[in-house]
């Protein structure tokens, strides 16, 4: 019953049709929203006493690192659906998330490093959060190269799903163990989460920017999953009659 429902409404064909329709308005809304949130955060919030202007990177860094982890979770969710119900659409979506996730993770690391220069005086610290984010980036890259190294798509899909699941179990473990490891050393001078004195004036644009950045990235995911569907379903008749 449920399976039938899935197969009818989650077929690549109907997904593609809906995605094509909503993609542009979706992207436009969230781009505008994000630009608005950034403008609010960058231009209309008071300067921080301790960090000066550099703290404003928070409005780009925090959304990116949040979304980079959420994307992996979504990918794992899709992989489970694919492995259990053999739903093709879910693995198309999962696969199209990987390059975007890599880009977002890279940006999260990059913006963190830039932020580190004025606040910590160094662009890198072997602190728990940064190390686990770096591992996340490596896993995204590994997944991309794994899928591209198979010439049989069906095998590649299954390996992809298995490794994503291994990774998603792995991420909390790594996080926990790296946390554990870093407690041995002195904790970093300023951790990213304990931004000094978050007052509501900063909090509102921060939440708005996280929300809108997430929406923006989901818009890009819709775009790239459309590409993936086209690529994989080329020989189907509905693609030809597009």
């Amino acid at each position: 019953m449920l399976k039938k429902f899935f197969h009818q409404f989650a077929s690549p064909k109907s997904y593609f049709r809906i995605a094509t329709k909503i993609q542009n308005p979706f992207l436009l809304i969230f781009v505008l929203l994000y630009v608005f949130a950034l403008a609010w955060g960058l231009l209309f919030t008071p300067e921080d006493y301790v960090q000066g202007n550099s703290y404003r990177i928070i409005f780009m860094h925090v959304p990116a690192s949040f979304v980079s982890q959420i994307l992996f979770l979504i990918m794992a969710f899709c992989s489970v659906i694919f492995l259990v119900w053999r739903l093709k659409l879910s693995i198309y979506v999962a696969k199209s998330i990987a390059p975007i996730g890599a880009a977002v993770t890279f940006f999260a690391l990059f913006s963190g490093s830039i932020w580190g220069i004025p606040t910590w005086g160094t662009w890198w610290q072997w602190d728990a959060r940064i190390t686990s984010t770096l591992i996340l980036l490596i896993m995204y890259l590994g997944l991309i190269s794994l899928h591209s190294s198979f010439n049989n798509y069906e095998k590649a899909d299954r390996f992809f799903a298995i490794i994503v699941l291994a990774g998603v179990i792995n991420i909390p473990i790594i996080k926990k163990s790296v946390d554990w490891w870093s407690t041995l050393h002195q904790s970093a001078s300023i951790t990213l989460t304990d931004a000094p004195s978050i007052d509501p004036l900063m909090l509102a644009p921060l939440f708005l920017s996280i929300f809108s950045f997430f929406g923006l990235i989901m818009g890009i995911v819709i775009l790239s999953s459309r590409y993936e569907i086209l690529l994989r379903e080329q020989s189907k008749s509905w693609v030809k009659s597009l």
Binding site: N152, Y153, E154, E233, Q234, S235, K236
Partner: protein
Amino acid sequence: MIKVNNLSFSVNNKKLFHNLSFAISEGELIRISGSNGSGKTTLLKIMLGITPPKKGFVEKEFSFGEKEFEFLGHKNGLKTYLSVKDNLYLMDLKLNDKNLKVLNDLSLLDLMSETVGNLSYGQQKKLALARVILSKARLILLDEPFVGLDDDSKKLLEKFLYNHIKTGKSAVITSHIDIDLPYSEICLDD
């Protein structure tokens, strides 16, 4: 003995065969023919249960686990860095008189201590065939068994297959080369 029902298979959306049904009874030799890339090897692998089919199913009278069948594919399953004797040990073949006689017929007896990597392609193929011949399985599946064999060995294999089906056992082979045996044919070209 084995029944194939409405089998379909495709790779990357390219159909290999569609709604294929046939049955193999006792004492029957089946030859699967078809052009290159028509899915002969894939069909064998589906019958063996290595590859799952896209649609349809294979009914077996006996379970494949029970040493009732023997399979030889393109790859011989030999260790090239070991001697012929060691390979026979890995295949669980004892060196008793009966087995040694068959090896002698295949003219492998003089090569027992030779490293397999030094043997010619045909000799290696014969060693791999020795496993099939000595296995006493009820069903044997051979993928292109005649490739690389000389005339004598080809005749020997044909004689073996003939005796094999004569005693009520069955065999499935894929081959491009014509054989002097009664067989029923399954053609994978449409």
